[in-house]
Symmetry: C2
Subunit: 338 residues, 2 copies
DNA sequence: GTGAAAGCGCTAACAG
DNA sequence: CTGTTAGCGCTTTCAC
């Protein structure tokens, strides 16, 4: 493989001049520049990126830590992050924790070993205390996840409003007994959503029945099970807020099987606005999260972190979301509430 | 950041000895080994991976080139490839072409610049002639895609059998007019599938009506459009083979809208066995592809390529697939054909 | 067993 | 405008 030295020799110049041409430095005469370009072409020369990384102390790689790619929300996030990264000529490394806190820490080591210039965390499996020491080695940006204690940039979505707007929509439709499903109760994303759910209730003077609250509900199957439990209740709810479209799909599927009509007997709200919401009958009312915008903002913030190296400054960016009303909560009116 | 030099000084030893400890070399006395370990711990030392990459001429990174993460098939492939890579202590870089042949070439440059030890190609947007020169810089493995002309390892699935088994299933159900949708006609994956479709027909002495063949059908929306065209036909088909579950879902959705019953008036076969096949009513008969196995095999082959550096040897691994029969093609009998 | 020294390929003072 | 030189942090001969 040709090196910069080879190019220099062939062009009859020094390594420095070649380097200058590669890096578009000024003060290289046009004549020599052409000489260098010619020599590079002739040798098929491409700079070695390990050498550059070592010398420049940067790798132009970002790691993104997610639970798993097949989770539609995180898949979409990775897709958008990769597109954003490539706009900055950065490469994206995918790191799947598979919900293991230890793997999260393992992947953070990429920062210590300088394999990446920064890490984007999309969930937080460990306590902030465990994460913080890694900041000595490079920037960490929270994207989607939020932590009050963290002294770093975070780009996230207003989940409290998400819970609030969806619940308010149900209450406006006349529902007074609303079931609630959420995912990982330890996540601040989940907590904020629940806060919004509670706020909507208290604003309307409504109580929440603890029997209607379910935790750690993630999948289609989980959704089915929740519906079975609800169906067995004496005093059934007339609506349900689910933490994800998959769960909503499970609820609807099982409701159909048991002859419970959606939305007339049970209104269902999903979350994430995944493709599936438009494929089912009825189509699912859901909360749209601005994933692309979040990804771009997070990458933008990351680039600034890399540039200005102020890794331990808290910066909070909160993005709005919107409710998309479809037939799983009401028979007509496809409006969009902001 | 502590370097190997710092560790050596603190331990009162040479860089060499420290390096030996890091790399688990024999011939280091236990006493000094402990000294080094102690010093490393005290300094929070971690070896710099750019320096190692430069010295060792390997990065322990693999790039995988896919169209996009949100395509469920490729999302699943990335998920499995990342898991496989991490078992070898390799990192995975995601590269999305967004169906641009130029981006495919751009990402192959990661090989030239030595940013990765190898590239896994899952589709082929360029001619093999365009790709081949990159083999001078490192290994390329084809995973999912297949090309007769390529002189490299390829791990793929027996798509011809996929087309064959699905079509035979339809014929066995008594269908004689079967519509056919496929994706990118230039892909060998697509071609093989069609070959199987044709083979099943000729084995049963059946003709294929060109009016029933559709190309470049990828999405849910595309599926809807295909059904609309079929519905407008004088002589409608009684079954349809689609290239993906999404398309099948679109066909079924539109059929419902037009009052065409699935499966009695139109039997529908999907492809990929994505989650959605079990969420819809009717559940979709589909072809299951062994994605995890393919990913593991591809990564395994890649590791051998890196080790033995015989980049230009053709090796073909073909994996079997199976038909999963659900209600979109027949009302009962949930069997599984191999 | 251990260390000195060369060098992986590149960039950036610094000097001219 | 151009070249000389000194490393970036690590591993590996080659001596001892």
């Amino acid at each position: 493989m040709a090196t910069i030295e080879d190019v220099a020799k062939l062009a009859g110049l020094s390594r420095t001049t070649v380097s200058r041409v590669i890096n578009n430095h000024p003060y290289v005469s046009e004549a020599k520049k052409q000489l260098v370009i010619e020599a590079m072409k002739q040798l098929g020369y491409v700079p070695n990126s390990s050498a550059r990384s070592l010398r420049n102390q940067k790798t132009e790689m970002i790691a993104v830590i997610i639970p798993r790619v097949m989770n539609p929300f995180f898949g979409q996030l990775v897709e958008s992050l990769e597109i954003a990264a490539s706009e900055y000529h950065y490469q994206l490394i995918v790191c799947q924790t598979l919900y293991s806190a230890k793997k999260e820490l393992d992947y953070l080591n990429l920062l210590k070993t300088k394999q990446v210039d920064g890490v984007i965390l999309t969930t937080l499996l460990n306590d902030w205390k465990q994460i913080e020491p890694f900041l000595d080695y490079g920037p960490i940006v929270l994207c989607n996840e939020y932590d009050q204690k963290a002294n770093i940039p975070m780009v996230h979505i207003d989940q409290e409003y998400g819970g609030y707007v969806a619940t308010t929509h149900l209450i406006d439709q006349g529902h007074m007994r609303i079931a609630y499903c959420c995912g990982n109760i330890k996540s601040n994303v989940t907590k904020a959503r629940e806060k919004g759910f509670r706020k909507a209730h208290s604003e309307h003077g409504l109580q929440i029945d603890p029997k209607l609250v379910f935790q750690n509900v993630f999948t289609f199957e989980d959704g089915k099970k929740v519906l079975q439990k609800l169906a067995a209740l004496d005093n059934r709810p007339t609506a349900i807020f689910t933490g994800s479209d998959e769960v909503a799909a499970g609820v609807i599927s099982e409701a159909k099987k048991l002859g419970i009509d959606v939305p007339t007997q049970l209104a269902v709200v999903g979350y994430d606005n995944q493709a599936i919401t438009e494929l089912l009958d009825p189509m699912i009312t859901t909360v749209h999260q601005p994933v692309k915008e979040m990804a771009h903002k997070a990458m933008n913030v990351m680039m600034n972190q890399i540039k200005y190296k102020n890794y331990k400054t808290k910066e909070v960016y909160q993005l709005p979301l919107s409710l998309i009303i479809r037939n799983s909560t009401c028979l007509k009116s496809p409006e969009r509430l902001n």
